[in-house]
Protein backbone atom coordinates (compact mmCIF):
# COMPACT_ATOMS: atom_id res chain seq x y z
CA UNK A 1 0.00 0.00 0.00
CA UNK A 2 1.08 3.49 -0.77
CA UNK A 3 1.00 5.26 2.52
CA UNK A 4 3.35 8.14 1.91
CA UNK A 5 2.94 10.99 -0.53
CA UNK A 6 5.97 10.04 -2.61
CA UNK A 7 4.48 6.64 -3.43
CA UNK A 8 1.11 8.18 -4.15
CA UNK A 9 2.76 10.65 -6.47
CA UNK A 10 4.57 7.82 -8.27
CA UNK A 11 1.33 5.90 -8.76
CA UNK A 12 -0.38 9.04 -9.98
CA UNK A 13 2.43 9.72 -12.45
CA UNK A 14 2.46 6.17 -13.81
CA UNK A 15 -1.29 6.34 -14.30
CA UNK A 16 -0.91 9.57 -16.18
CA UNK A 17 1.92 8.12 -18.22
CA UNK A 18 -0.24 5.17 -19.27
CA UNK A 19 -3.11 7.49 -20.15
CA UNK A 20 -0.78 9.69 -22.16
CA UNK A 21 0.65 6.65 -23.95
CA UNK A 22 -2.84 5.54 -24.94
CA UNK A 23 -3.68 9.05 -26.11
CA UNK A 24 -0.56 9.41 -28.24
CA UNK A 25 -0.94 5.86 -29.56
CA UNK A 26 -4.49 6.63 -30.68
CA UNK A 27 -3.33 9.87 -32.28
CA UNK A 28 -0.54 8.09 -34.14
CA UNK A 29 -2.91 5.35 -35.33
CA UNK A 30 -5.31 8.03 -36.58
CA UNK A 31 -2.49 9.75 -38.46
CA UNK A 32 -1.33 6.52 -40.12
CA UNK A 33 -4.92 5.72 -41.00
CA UNK A 34 -5.33 9.19 -42.45
CA UNK A 35 -2.32 8.90 -44.71
CA UNK A 36 -3.34 5.43 -45.82
CA UNK A 37 -6.70 6.87 -46.86
CA UNK A 38 -5.01 9.45 -49.08
CA UNK A 39 -3.58 6.66 -51.18
CA UNK A 40 -6.85 4.72 -51.00
CA UNK A 41 -8.83 7.69 -52.31
CA UNK A 42 -6.13 8.26 -54.98
CA UNK A 43 -6.00 11.94 -54.17
CA UNK A 44 -3.69 13.73 -56.58
CA UNK A 45 -1.66 15.90 -54.23
CA UNK A 46 -0.23 18.02 -57.08
CA UNK A 47 -3.76 19.09 -57.97
CA UNK A 48 -4.44 20.04 -54.37
CA UNK A 49 -1.40 22.30 -54.30
CA UNK A 50 -2.32 23.77 -57.67
CA UNK A 51 -5.76 24.61 -56.31
CA UNK A 52 -5.08 28.17 -55.32
CA UNK A 53 -3.34 28.92 -58.58
CA UNK A 54 -6.42 27.80 -60.48
CA UNK A 55 -9.13 28.93 -58.10
CA UNK A 56 -8.11 32.59 -58.39
CA UNK A 57 -8.26 32.92 -62.19
CA UNK A 58 -11.38 30.78 -62.35
CA UNK A 59 -13.22 32.91 -59.83
CA UNK A 60 -11.99 36.02 -61.59
CA UNK A 61 -12.79 35.04 -65.18
CA UNK A 62 -15.51 32.44 -65.25
CA UNK A 63 -17.50 33.25 -62.15
CA UNK A 64 -16.75 36.70 -60.97
CA UNK A 65 -19.18 39.14 -62.53
CA UNK A 66 -22.29 37.23 -61.41
CA UNK A 67 -25.12 37.62 -63.91
CA UNK A 68 -27.65 39.30 -61.64
CA UNK A 69 -29.80 40.36 -64.59
CA UNK A 70 -30.51 36.68 -65.25
CA UNK A 71 -30.98 35.90 -61.58
CA UNK A 72 -33.63 38.62 -61.19
CA UNK A 73 -35.58 37.46 -64.22
CA UNK A 74 -39.21 36.90 -63.22
CA UNK A 75 -38.99 33.20 -64.13
CA UNK A 76 -36.14 32.65 -61.72
CA UNK A 77 -37.78 34.74 -59.02
CA UNK A 78 -40.97 32.73 -59.43
CA UNK A 79 -39.04 29.50 -58.91
CA UNK A 80 -37.53 31.11 -55.81
CA UNK A 81 -41.06 31.66 -54.51
CA UNK A 82 -41.80 28.04 -55.39
CA UNK A 83 -38.75 27.01 -53.33
CA UNK A 84 -40.01 28.95 -50.30
CA UNK A 85 -43.48 27.45 -50.69
CA UNK A 86 -42.03 23.96 -50.93
CA UNK A 87 -40.07 24.45 -47.72
CA UNK A 88 -43.10 25.78 -45.84
CA UNK A 89 -45.40 23.02 -47.05
CA UNK A 90 -42.85 20.28 -46.41
CA UNK A 91 -42.11 21.63 -42.94
CA UNK A 92 -45.84 21.95 -42.16
CA UNK A 93 -46.92 18.49 -43.29
CA UNK A 94 -43.84 16.90 -41.79
CA UNK A 95 -44.44 18.58 -38.44
CA UNK A 96 -48.07 17.48 -38.39
CA UNK A 97 -46.91 13.89 -38.83
CA UNK A 98 -43.90 14.25 -36.56
CA UNK A 99 -45.80 15.48 -33.48
CA UNK A 100 -47.59 12.17 -32.76
CA UNK A 101 -44.48 10.23 -33.78
CA UNK A 102 -42.36 12.22 -31.32
CA UNK A 103 -44.95 11.58 -28.62
CA UNK A 104 -44.79 7.84 -29.29
CA UNK A 105 -41.00 7.81 -29.61
CA UNK A 106 -40.29 9.39 -26.20
CA UNK A 107 -39.69 6.53 -23.80
CA UNK A 108 -41.17 8.22 -20.71
CA UNK A 109 -44.48 9.32 -22.23
CA UNK A 110 -45.12 6.82 -25.00
CA UNK A 111 -48.61 5.33 -24.74
CA UNK A 112 -47.40 1.88 -25.72
CA UNK A 113 -43.86 0.64 -25.20
CA UNK A 114 -44.07 -2.64 -27.08
CA UNK A 115 -45.55 -1.59 -30.43
CA UNK A 116 -45.83 2.18 -30.83
CA UNK A 117 -42.41 3.03 -29.40
CA UNK A 118 -40.31 0.82 -31.70
CA UNK A 119 -42.55 1.70 -34.64
CA UNK A 120 -42.13 5.45 -34.14
CA UNK A 121 -38.39 5.09 -33.53
CA UNK A 122 -37.96 3.05 -36.72
CA UNK A 123 -39.92 5.56 -38.81
CA UNK A 124 -37.87 8.47 -37.49
CA UNK A 125 -34.54 6.70 -38.02
CA UNK A 126 -35.54 5.67 -41.55
CA UNK A 127 -36.65 9.19 -42.43
CA UNK A 128 -33.44 10.62 -41.01
CA UNK A 129 -31.04 8.33 -42.76
CA UNK A 130 -31.87 9.05 -46.40
CA UNK A 131 -30.30 12.31 -47.62
CA UNK A 132 -32.85 14.73 -49.09
CA UNK A 133 -31.34 14.82 -52.57
CA UNK A 134 -31.38 11.03 -52.91
CA UNK A 135 -34.93 10.96 -51.60
CA UNK A 136 -35.94 13.62 -54.11
CA UNK A 137 -34.45 11.61 -56.97
CA UNK A 138 -36.30 8.46 -55.88
CA UNK A 139 -39.60 10.29 -55.47
CA UNK A 140 -39.29 11.96 -58.87
CA UNK A 141 -38.81 8.50 -60.35
CA UNK A 142 -41.74 7.03 -58.45
CA UNK A 143 -44.25 9.89 -58.75
CA UNK A 144 -43.74 12.80 -61.05
CA UNK A 145 -41.31 15.54 -61.98
CA UNK A 146 -42.00 18.78 -60.10
CA UNK A 147 -42.65 20.24 -56.68
CA UNK A 148 -44.88 17.34 -55.58
CA UNK A 149 -41.83 15.09 -55.17
CA UNK A 150 -39.94 17.94 -53.54
CA UNK A 151 -42.62 18.59 -50.95
CA UNK A 152 -42.80 14.87 -50.19
CA UNK A 153 -39.01 14.66 -49.79
CA UNK A 154 -39.04 17.68 -47.46
CA UNK A 155 -41.92 16.18 -45.49
CA UNK A 156 -39.94 13.00 -44.92
CA UNK A 157 -36.84 14.99 -44.03
CA UNK A 158 -38.86 16.99 -41.52
CA UNK A 159 -40.23 13.86 -39.88
CA UNK A 160 -36.72 12.56 -39.33
CA UNK A 161 -35.33 15.86 -38.12
CA UNK A 162 -38.07 17.22 -35.87
CA UNK A 163 -39.16 13.75 -34.74
CA UNK A 164 -35.79 13.02 -33.21
CA UNK A 165 -35.30 16.44 -31.62
CA UNK A 166 -38.85 16.60 -30.27
CA UNK A 167 -38.67 13.10 -28.80
CA UNK A 168 -35.35 13.89 -27.13
CA UNK A 169 -36.85 17.07 -25.73
CA UNK A 170 -39.96 15.28 -24.49
CA UNK A 171 -37.79 12.81 -22.58
CA UNK A 172 -36.58 15.63 -20.34
CA UNK A 173 -40.01 16.86 -19.18
CA UNK A 174 -41.28 16.87 -15.61
CA UNK A 175 -43.26 13.66 -15.10
CA UNK A 176 -45.27 15.07 -12.17
CA UNK A 177 -48.18 16.57 -14.17
CA UNK A 178 -48.23 13.51 -16.43
CA UNK A 179 -48.59 11.14 -13.48
CA UNK A 180 -51.18 13.39 -11.87
CA UNK A 181 -53.20 13.25 -15.09
CA UNK A 182 -52.84 9.48 -15.27
CA UNK A 183 -53.93 9.15 -11.66
CA UNK A 184 -57.22 10.87 -12.49
CA UNK A 185 -57.87 8.11 -15.02
CA UNK A 186 -57.31 10.22 -18.11
CA UNK A 187 -56.67 8.40 -21.36
CA UNK A 188 -53.38 8.74 -23.31
CA UNK A 189 -54.71 11.50 -25.58
CA UNK A 190 -55.90 13.61 -22.66
CA UNK A 191 -52.59 13.05 -20.87
CA UNK A 192 -50.83 14.28 -23.98
CA UNK A 193 -52.98 17.36 -24.47
CA UNK A 194 -53.10 18.53 -20.85
CA UNK A 195 -50.03 16.97 -19.24
CA UNK A 196 -47.39 16.91 -21.95
CA UNK A 197 -48.27 19.52 -24.58
CA UNK A 198 -48.07 22.59 -22.28
CA UNK A 199 -44.62 21.47 -21.13
CA UNK A 200 -43.12 20.78 -24.55
CA UNK A 201 -44.82 23.58 -26.47
CA UNK A 202 -42.10 26.26 -26.15
CA UNK A 203 -39.21 23.95 -27.02
CA UNK A 204 -41.13 22.24 -29.82
CA UNK A 205 -42.04 25.61 -31.35
CA UNK A 206 -38.35 26.46 -31.48
CA UNK A 207 -37.57 23.11 -33.09
CA UNK A 208 -40.33 23.63 -35.67
CA UNK A 209 -39.00 27.05 -36.68
CA UNK A 210 -35.45 25.80 -36.82
CA UNK A 211 -36.59 22.89 -38.94
CA UNK A 212 -38.24 25.24 -41.44
CA UNK A 213 -34.95 27.06 -41.77
CA UNK A 214 -33.12 23.80 -42.38
CA UNK A 215 -35.72 22.64 -44.94
CA UNK A 216 -35.38 25.91 -46.85
CA UNK A 217 -31.68 25.18 -47.25
CA UNK A 218 -32.48 21.70 -48.50
CA UNK A 219 -35.21 22.87 -50.87
CA UNK A 220 -32.88 25.21 -52.75
CA UNK A 221 -31.05 22.21 -54.09
CA UNK A 222 -33.87 19.72 -54.69
CA UNK A 223 -34.43 21.08 -58.20
CA UNK A 224 -31.15 19.45 -59.15
CA UNK A 225 -32.96 16.16 -59.53
CA UNK A 226 -36.13 17.75 -60.87
CA UNK A 227 -38.02 17.97 -57.61
CA UNK A 228 -39.06 21.61 -58.02
CA UNK A 229 -37.63 24.93 -57.00
CA UNK A 230 -34.71 27.05 -58.03
CA UNK A 231 -32.24 24.16 -58.17
CA UNK A 232 -33.46 23.35 -61.67
CA UNK A 233 -32.27 26.71 -63.01
CA UNK A 234 -28.95 26.22 -61.28
CA UNK A 235 -28.63 22.78 -62.85
CA UNK A 236 -29.42 24.13 -66.31
CA UNK A 237 -26.89 26.94 -66.10
CA UNK A 238 -24.19 24.62 -64.77
CA UNK A 239 -24.80 22.09 -67.53
CA UNK A 240 -24.49 24.85 -70.10
CA UNK A 241 -21.29 26.04 -68.40
CA UNK A 242 -22.93 29.44 -67.88
CA UNK A 243 -21.05 30.04 -64.66
CA UNK A 244 -21.89 33.73 -64.51
CA UNK A 245 -25.61 33.02 -64.48
CA UNK A 246 -25.10 30.11 -62.06
CA UNK A 247 -23.21 32.41 -59.71
CA UNK A 248 -26.09 34.88 -59.89
CA UNK A 249 -28.48 32.14 -58.76
CA UNK A 250 -26.08 31.03 -56.03
CA UNK A 251 -25.93 34.58 -54.70
CA UNK A 252 -29.73 34.74 -54.76
CA UNK A 253 -29.93 31.47 -52.81
CA UNK A 254 -27.33 32.58 -50.27
CA UNK A 255 -29.21 35.84 -49.68
CA UNK A 256 -32.45 33.92 -49.22
CA UNK A 257 -30.87 31.50 -46.76
CA UNK A 258 -29.23 34.28 -44.76
CA UNK A 259 -32.57 36.08 -44.62
CA UNK A 260 -34.39 32.93 -43.48
CA UNK A 261 -31.75 32.28 -40.85
CA UNK A 262 -32.13 35.79 -39.50
CA UNK A 263 -35.90 35.39 -39.49
CA UNK A 264 -35.82 32.04 -37.71
CA UNK A 265 -33.38 33.48 -35.16
CA UNK A 266 -35.69 36.45 -34.59
CA UNK A 267 -38.77 34.22 -34.20
CA UNK A 268 -37.02 31.89 -31.78
CA UNK A 269 -35.80 34.84 -29.71
CA UNK A 270 -39.35 36.18 -29.56
CA UNK A 271 -40.65 32.82 -28.37
CA UNK A 272 -38.31 32.85 -25.43
Amino acid sequence: MADNTADLHKIYLSGRRAARLVKYGAGLALLVFGFWTVSFLEIPMDRLFGLFGRLGPMLANRIFPPDLAYATDWKVLLSLVETIEMSILGAFFGTVIAIPLAWWAAWNITPNRTILYPFARAVIVLCRSVPALILGFLLVAIFVFGPFAGVLALTIGTIGFTGKLMAEQAETIDMGPVEAMRATGAGPLKVFIFGIWPQVKPAWSGIIIYNWDARLRGSTILGFVGAGGIGLHLRLQISQLEYHAAMGIIILVVVLVIFSEAMSHFLRERLR
Binding site: L89, A141, F145, T220, L234
Partner: protein
Protein backbone atom coordinates in the same frame (compact mmCIF):
# COMPACT_ATOMS: atom_id res chain seq x y z
CA UNK B 1 -57.92 42.83 -16.49
CA UNK B 2 -61.59 42.81 -17.27
CA UNK B 3 -63.66 42.66 -14.08
CA UNK B 4 -65.26 39.24 -13.86
CA UNK B 5 -69.07 39.17 -13.80
CA UNK B 6 -69.02 36.72 -10.92
CA UNK B 7 -66.29 37.68 -8.43
CA UNK B 8 -65.92 34.11 -7.19
CA UNK B 9 -65.20 32.84 -10.68
CA UNK B 10 -61.51 32.86 -11.55
CA UNK B 11 -61.11 33.68 -15.20
CA UNK B 12 -58.21 32.53 -17.32
CA UNK B 13 -56.74 35.73 -18.75
CA UNK B 14 -55.78 33.81 -21.89
CA UNK B 15 -59.44 33.05 -22.49
CA UNK B 16 -60.57 36.67 -22.81
CA UNK B 17 -62.62 37.16 -25.99
CA UNK B 18 -60.03 39.52 -27.49
CA UNK B 19 -57.21 36.99 -27.00
CA UNK B 20 -59.30 34.15 -28.33
CA UNK B 21 -60.16 36.20 -31.40
CA UNK B 22 -56.50 37.04 -31.98
CA UNK B 23 -55.44 33.42 -31.57
CA UNK B 24 -58.07 32.07 -33.94
CA UNK B 25 -57.23 34.77 -36.49
CA UNK B 26 -53.62 33.58 -36.46
CA UNK B 27 -54.76 29.98 -36.91
CA UNK B 28 -57.05 30.98 -39.77
CA UNK B 29 -54.26 32.90 -41.52
CA UNK B 30 -51.88 29.94 -41.19
CA UNK B 31 -54.45 27.52 -42.58
CA UNK B 32 -55.30 29.89 -45.45
CA UNK B 33 -51.63 30.35 -46.36
CA UNK B 34 -50.98 26.60 -46.28
CA UNK B 35 -54.06 25.94 -48.37
CA UNK B 36 -53.16 28.60 -50.94
CA UNK B 37 -49.64 27.22 -51.26
CA UNK B 38 -50.88 23.65 -51.54
CA UNK B 39 -53.26 24.66 -54.33
CA UNK B 40 -50.56 26.60 -56.13
CA UNK B 41 -47.82 23.99 -55.85
CA UNK B 42 -49.49 20.63 -55.56
CA UNK B 43 -52.62 21.13 -57.66
CA UNK B 44 -51.51 23.53 -60.39
CA UNK B 45 -47.72 23.12 -60.15
CA UNK B 46 -47.78 19.35 -60.59
CA UNK B 47 -48.34 17.68 -63.93
CA UNK B 48 -51.02 15.25 -62.79
CA UNK B 49 -51.44 13.74 -66.26
CA UNK B 50 -47.89 12.44 -66.06
CA UNK B 51 -48.38 10.91 -62.65
CA UNK B 52 -48.85 7.20 -63.16
CA UNK B 53 -51.82 5.20 -61.97
CA UNK B 54 -51.51 3.65 -58.50
CA UNK B 55 -50.43 0.33 -60.01
CA UNK B 56 -47.70 2.03 -62.04
CA UNK B 57 -46.48 3.88 -58.95
CA UNK B 58 -46.42 0.62 -57.02
CA UNK B 59 -44.53 -1.05 -59.86
CA UNK B 60 -41.82 1.65 -59.85
CA UNK B 61 -41.58 1.48 -56.09
CA UNK B 62 -41.16 -2.29 -56.20
CA UNK B 63 -38.51 -2.05 -58.91
CA UNK B 64 -36.56 0.19 -56.52
CA UNK B 65 -36.20 -2.64 -54.01
CA UNK B 66 -32.46 -3.21 -53.52
CA UNK B 67 -30.71 -5.62 -55.83
CA UNK B 68 -28.40 -7.32 -53.34
CA UNK B 69 -26.06 -8.63 -56.04
CA UNK B 70 -24.93 -5.08 -56.62
CA UNK B 71 -23.79 -4.57 -53.02
CA UNK B 72 -20.22 -5.97 -53.45
CA UNK B 73 -19.57 -3.43 -56.21
CA UNK B 74 -20.40 -0.44 -54.01
CA UNK B 75 -18.39 -1.36 -50.92
CA UNK B 76 -15.38 0.56 -52.18
CA UNK B 77 -17.29 3.76 -53.11
CA UNK B 78 -19.05 3.52 -49.76
CA UNK B 79 -15.68 3.47 -48.04
CA UNK B 80 -14.70 6.45 -50.22
CA UNK B 81 -17.73 8.30 -48.91
CA UNK B 82 -16.87 7.59 -45.29
CA UNK B 83 -13.26 8.64 -45.82
CA UNK B 84 -14.35 11.81 -47.59
CA UNK B 85 -16.43 12.65 -44.54
CA UNK B 86 -13.47 11.91 -42.28
CA UNK B 87 -11.06 14.12 -44.20
CA UNK B 88 -13.60 16.86 -44.72
CA UNK B 89 -14.23 16.99 -40.99
CA UNK B 90 -10.52 16.97 -40.19
CA UNK B 91 -9.88 19.85 -42.60
CA UNK B 92 -12.85 21.75 -41.18
CA UNK B 93 -11.51 21.27 -37.66
CA UNK B 94 -8.11 22.63 -38.69
CA UNK B 95 -9.65 25.54 -40.59
CA UNK B 96 -12.06 26.37 -37.75
CA UNK B 97 -9.24 27.25 -35.34
CA UNK B 98 -8.19 30.49 -37.08
CA UNK B 99 -11.74 31.32 -38.16
CA UNK B 100 -13.15 30.99 -34.65
CA UNK B 101 -10.17 32.96 -33.33
CA UNK B 102 -11.20 35.79 -35.66
CA UNK B 103 -14.92 35.45 -34.97
CA UNK B 104 -14.93 35.37 -31.16
CA UNK B 105 -15.38 38.86 -29.74
CA UNK B 106 -13.05 38.08 -26.85
CA UNK B 107 -10.06 36.93 -28.90
CA UNK B 108 -10.32 38.73 -32.23
CA UNK B 109 -7.46 41.19 -32.81
CA UNK B 110 -9.69 43.95 -34.14
CA UNK B 111 -13.45 44.34 -33.79
CA UNK B 112 -13.61 46.51 -36.91
CA UNK B 113 -11.55 44.52 -39.41
CA UNK B 114 -11.08 40.89 -38.38
CA UNK B 115 -14.31 40.26 -36.48
CA UNK B 116 -16.59 40.89 -39.50
CA UNK B 117 -14.28 38.74 -41.65
CA UNK B 118 -14.62 35.82 -39.26
CA UNK B 119 -18.39 36.21 -38.91
CA UNK B 120 -18.78 36.64 -42.67
CA UNK B 121 -16.86 33.43 -43.37
CA UNK B 122 -19.08 31.58 -40.90
CA UNK B 123 -22.30 32.89 -42.46
CA UNK B 124 -21.07 32.14 -45.98
CA UNK B 125 -20.07 28.61 -45.04
CA UNK B 126 -23.28 27.84 -43.18
CA UNK B 127 -25.66 29.21 -45.78
CA UNK B 128 -24.14 27.65 -48.90
CA UNK B 129 -25.24 24.13 -49.72
CA UNK B 130 -22.50 21.49 -50.00
CA UNK B 131 -23.55 20.79 -53.58
CA UNK B 132 -22.71 24.37 -54.54
CA UNK B 133 -19.26 24.12 -52.98
CA UNK B 134 -18.80 20.79 -54.73
CA UNK B 135 -19.75 22.33 -58.08
CA UNK B 136 -17.16 25.08 -57.68
CA UNK B 137 -14.43 22.66 -56.64
CA UNK B 138 -15.27 20.14 -59.34
CA UNK B 139 -15.01 22.94 -61.89
CA UNK B 140 -11.53 23.87 -60.64
CA UNK B 141 -10.07 20.52 -59.59
CA UNK B 142 -11.76 17.98 -61.80
CA UNK B 143 -13.65 14.87 -60.73
CA UNK B 144 -12.85 12.64 -57.79
CA UNK B 145 -12.97 12.67 -54.00
CA UNK B 146 -10.66 15.68 -53.58
CA UNK B 147 -13.26 18.34 -54.51
CA UNK B 148 -15.73 16.48 -52.31
CA UNK B 149 -13.41 16.66 -49.33
CA UNK B 150 -12.85 20.37 -49.85
CA UNK B 151 -16.59 20.98 -50.26
CA UNK B 152 -17.32 19.16 -47.00
CA UNK B 153 -14.58 21.10 -45.24
CA UNK B 154 -15.94 24.44 -46.47
CA UNK B 155 -19.47 23.42 -45.53
CA UNK B 156 -18.77 22.34 -41.98
CA UNK B 157 -16.13 24.91 -41.04
CA UNK B 158 -18.96 27.39 -40.36
CA UNK B 159 -20.67 25.16 -37.81
CA UNK B 160 -17.38 24.30 -36.10
CA UNK B 161 -16.23 27.92 -35.94
CA UNK B 162 -19.58 29.24 -34.79
CA UNK B 163 -19.89 26.85 -31.86
CA UNK B 164 -16.23 27.26 -30.93
CA UNK B 165 -16.36 31.05 -31.12
CA UNK B 166 -19.47 31.08 -28.93
CA UNK B 167 -17.78 28.77 -26.43
CA UNK B 168 -14.70 30.98 -26.37
CA UNK B 169 -16.85 34.03 -25.73
CA UNK B 170 -18.55 32.30 -22.82
CA UNK B 171 -15.49 30.88 -21.07
CA UNK B 172 -15.01 31.41 -17.36
CA UNK B 173 -12.70 34.43 -16.93
CA UNK B 174 -11.36 33.17 -13.57
CA UNK B 175 -8.65 30.77 -14.79
CA UNK B 176 -7.52 33.26 -17.43
CA UNK B 177 -7.10 35.98 -14.83
CA UNK B 178 -5.27 33.56 -12.53
CA UNK B 179 -2.86 32.68 -15.33
CA UNK B 180 -2.43 36.35 -16.23
CA UNK B 181 -1.63 37.07 -12.58
CA UNK B 182 1.40 34.76 -12.83
CA UNK B 183 2.74 37.02 -15.56
CA UNK B 184 1.80 34.83 -18.52
CA UNK B 185 1.61 36.36 -21.99
CA UNK B 186 -1.39 36.19 -24.34
CA UNK B 187 -0.30 32.88 -25.92
CA UNK B 188 0.00 31.13 -22.58
CA UNK B 189 -3.28 32.66 -21.45
CA UNK B 190 -5.00 31.31 -24.53
CA UNK B 191 -3.35 27.87 -24.41
CA UNK B 192 -3.82 27.21 -20.70
CA UNK B 193 -6.82 29.40 -19.88
CA UNK B 194 -9.15 29.15 -22.87
CA UNK B 195 -8.27 25.90 -24.66
CA UNK B 196 -8.86 23.47 -21.75
CA UNK B 197 -12.31 24.96 -21.17
CA UNK B 198 -13.33 24.79 -24.81
CA UNK B 199 -11.70 21.55 -25.86
CA UNK B 200 -14.26 18.90 -24.74
CA UNK B 201 -17.08 20.78 -26.46
CA UNK B 202 -14.91 21.29 -29.51
CA UNK B 203 -14.27 17.56 -29.77
CA UNK B 204 -17.96 16.76 -29.31
CA UNK B 205 -18.86 19.18 -32.08
CA UNK B 206 -16.21 17.72 -34.36
CA UNK B 207 -17.84 14.32 -33.97
CA UNK B 208 -21.24 15.85 -34.62
CA UNK B 209 -19.85 17.49 -37.76
CA UNK B 210 -18.48 14.12 -38.88
CA UNK B 211 -21.92 12.59 -38.48
CA UNK B 212 -23.46 15.36 -40.59
CA UNK B 213 -20.68 15.09 -43.15
CA UNK B 214 -21.36 11.39 -43.71
CA UNK B 215 -24.87 12.33 -44.83
CA UNK B 216 -23.55 15.13 -47.01
CA UNK B 217 -20.79 13.03 -48.55
CA UNK B 218 -23.36 10.53 -49.77
CA UNK B 219 -24.85 13.00 -52.25
CA UNK B 220 -21.71 14.78 -53.44
CA UNK B 221 -21.05 12.12 -56.05
CA UNK B 222 -24.16 13.26 -57.90
CA UNK B 223 -22.19 16.27 -59.15
CA UNK B 224 -19.00 14.28 -59.71
CA UNK B 225 -17.27 14.78 -56.38
CA UNK B 226 -16.62 11.12 -55.59
CA UNK B 227 -18.23 8.56 -53.36
CA UNK B 228 -21.40 6.56 -53.65
CA UNK B 229 -23.58 9.36 -55.00
CA UNK B 230 -21.98 8.95 -58.43
CA UNK B 231 -22.99 5.28 -58.62
CA UNK B 232 -26.46 6.08 -57.36
CA UNK B 233 -27.12 8.74 -59.97
CA UNK B 234 -25.58 6.61 -62.74
CA UNK B 235 -27.83 3.69 -61.89
CA UNK B 236 -30.87 5.94 -61.62
CA UNK B 237 -30.18 7.56 -64.97
CA UNK B 238 -29.77 4.21 -66.68
CA UNK B 239 -33.03 2.99 -65.10
CA UNK B 240 -31.31 0.21 -63.13
CA UNK B 241 -33.65 0.90 -60.25
CA UNK B 242 -32.72 -2.27 -58.38
CA UNK B 243 -29.06 -1.25 -58.32
CA UNK B 244 -29.98 2.30 -57.31
CA UNK B 245 -32.02 0.82 -54.45
CA UNK B 246 -28.92 -1.09 -53.35
CA UNK B 247 -26.99 2.20 -53.28
CA UNK B 248 -29.71 3.78 -51.13
CA UNK B 249 -29.63 0.79 -48.77
CA UNK B 250 -25.86 1.14 -48.48
CA UNK B 251 -26.17 4.87 -47.73
CA UNK B 252 -28.82 4.20 -45.07
CA UNK B 253 -26.61 1.59 -43.41
CA UNK B 254 -23.59 3.91 -43.52
CA UNK B 255 -25.53 6.83 -42.05
CA UNK B 256 -27.11 4.75 -39.28
CA UNK B 257 -23.77 3.17 -38.35
CA UNK B 258 -22.11 6.60 -38.41
CA UNK B 259 -24.79 8.00 -36.13
CA UNK B 260 -24.54 5.12 -33.66
CA UNK B 261 -20.73 5.33 -33.54
CA UNK B 262 -20.65 9.09 -33.12
CA UNK B 263 -23.34 8.95 -30.43
CA UNK B 264 -21.29 6.32 -28.56
CA UNK B 265 -18.14 8.39 -28.72
CA UNK B 266 -19.92 11.56 -27.71
CA UNK B 267 -21.64 10.08 -24.68
CA UNK B 268 -18.30 8.56 -23.65
CA UNK B 269 -16.62 11.97 -24.02
CA UNK B 270 -19.30 13.70 -21.99
CA UNK B 271 -19.29 11.10 -19.21
CA UNK B 272 -15.49 11.37 -19.05
Amino acid sequence: MMPAANPTLIQNPLRQPADLLRRYTIYAVIVAVILAMSVHLLVYGTDWSRMGSPSEIAETAISLLPNLNFIPKIVSPLLDTALMAFWGTLLAVVMSVPVSYLAAATTTPSMIFTFPIGRGLIVLSRSTHEIIFALIFVATLGLGPLPGILALACRSVGFMSKTTAEAMENVDRGPIEAIAATGAGPTARFLFGVVPQVFPMFLGNAIFAFDANVRRAAILGMVGAGGIGLHFSEQMKSYNYGNAGACVLAVVILVVVGEIVSNRIRTKLISG
